[in-house]
């Protein structure tokens, strides 16, 4: 009986969600009708063999006839296509971003940022397009020449015993939109760090007539020299985890652990940077009593120690909440 459920699962998971329950109910009834009252394992196997390979049956249910990629490869095709599109789009976008960053460090106009933004979207799209062309081409060759994935001609006969296990019911799936949100958030955050913490942002003009009295709040050279690599690594780590989440689809303990690692890393980097006195412009602090500074800026400097503590405390609370949340989701899924 368990084999029947595995078979039904293997068929219905390939169908649109709205049809699954109904097809499963009908298929279960049909299979039971085809069996005797006390079926032997052999009988079950024979009936499933008669119904044929799940991917083919699912293809019949979907009812699409004309194809470039046939039923045998279609599921793998879609799977590989999605994954490759996401990866190549990400590589394209990140590559353009880094290239723009490294080659034009001193450009900082809004026009330039806008241009880079479009370039990033463009090369992301380009990457996805490449993925589509290559994956489709390769699967088309598989289809035409009937090559199996092990490289042998003609795939071996299908057997019910090949049916995959039914995965545990997942109560807390990771939605694709959440992952895409993560990726976008990551990119924007990185963009914010690298573009806005520049020599000419966060600058306070003390006296407009005197160029020498312009003060920058951050010590930019130090930020670049010390944190550039770490920030890039942290962002790439985040993207790597997003890909894992995409493939898995739900929270497991090891995924939660990896995610925890990323949260902790982000927190540590923030804490490290915040308390690194070298990232602030020492001249700025030396001038804290200057009357030309706007009052709010003077307040900021006066209470800077408390502000630092406050930021770290809030970040710590958020990090703990995030970690508890992912482990709770993993626990929910694992305990089912």
């Amino acid at each position: 009986m368990e084999l029947i459920e595995r078979y039904i699962y293997a068929v219905t998971k390939r169908l649109p969600e709205t049809q699954r329950a109904d097809v499963a109910k009908e298929l279960r009834g049909n299979i039971e009708d085809m069996l005797s009252d006390q079926p032997t394992a052999k009988e079950v196997e024979d009936v499933l063999l008669e119904l044929g390979e799940p991917s083919k049956l699912a293809f019949e249910y979907r009812g699409k006839k004309r194809y470039l990629i046939g039923p045998e490869y279609f599921d793998q095709y879609i799977h590989v296509l999605k994954l490759t599109c996401v990866i190549l789009a990400a590589i394209g976008a990140i590559g353009t971003f880094i290239e723009a960053y490294v080659s034009h460090v001193n450009e900082n106009s809004f026009e330039y940022m806008f241009e880079v933004f479009w370039n990033i979207i463009g090369s992301g799209f380009n990457g996805a397009l490449h993925a589509f062309a290559w994956v489709t081409g390769i699967f088309f060759i598989f289809e035409r020449f009937d090559i199996g994935f092990d490289g042998k001609y003609k795939r071996s006969e299908w057997s019910p015993l090949d049916l995959p296990e039914i995965p545990k019911k997942v109560s807390k799936p990771i939605h694709r939109s959440e992952i895409i949100g993560d990726l976008i958030g990551n990119t924007i955050w990185l963009g914010f760090l690298l573009f806005f913490l520049r020599k000419d942002s966060f600058i306070f003009t003390i006296d407009k007539s005197d160029v020498n009295s312009i003060l920058a709040f951050f010590n930019f050279d130090h930020i670049y020299n010390t944190y550039f690599t770490v920030l890039i690594i942290s962002a790439l780590f985040g993207i790597f985890i997003s890909i894992l989440k995409w493939m898995r689809g739900y929270w497991s303990y090891w995924l939660a652990s990896l995610q925890t690692g990323q949260y902790l890393l982000s927190f540590l980097i923030l804490r490290w940077m915040l308390f690194d006195q070298k990232i602030y412009n020492s001249v700025f602090f030396a001038n804290k009593n200057r009357e030309e500074l706007h009052e709010s800026v003077r307040e900021l400097i006066k209470n800077f120690g408390e502000i630092q503590q406050g930021i770290v405390a809030v970040a710590a609370i958020i990090t703990v909440c995030q970690i508890v949340s992912v482990f709770y989701k993993a626990y929910k899924n694992q305990s089912k």
Binding site: K25, L27, G29, D33, M34, E50, L51, E60, G63
Partner: protein, 115 residues
């Protein structure tokens, strides 16, 4: 051409031919209501060579096209989905019967030329 190659050519012809006729056969057998397996046994008895893996999805597709209507019968120990021709299905079948007569005459004529 070797025998196996010959068989293959004939086989692909038959597949093409049966693809269309199978749907018509199924429609003719659904003037009274049937559930998946009962219809399968009827078709097997009449030696149509239709397989379970083809029949079950076909029923759903014909329903989606509006040619069949279905209802779940849950009064028995196991729930069964019964299919029957819809009004549209009856009309379509009637028209197809006429078209088939034409086609059949035509084919008799052509095949009659084969010596």
């Amino acid at each position: 051409m070797s025998k196996s190659q010959l068989d293959e050519v004939i086989h692909s012809f038959l597949v093409e031919m049966k693809r269309g006729t199978m749907t018509i056969i199924v429609l003719t057998q659904l003037q009274t209501k049937q559930y998946g397996y009962s219809l399968l046994t009827v078709l097997e008895k009449k030696k149509t060579g239709i397989e379970a893996g083809t029949l079950y999805p076909l029923l759903r597709r014909l329903e989606k096209q509006g040619l069949l209507q279905s209802e779940w019968d849950t009064s028995e120990s196991r729930p069964r989905k019964f299919y029957q021709l819809s009004d549209l299905g009856k009309e379509v079948l009637e028209r197809i019967k006429k078209e088939w007569d034409l086609l059949s005459n035509q084919m008799d004529h052509f095949l009659g030329e084969v010596l």
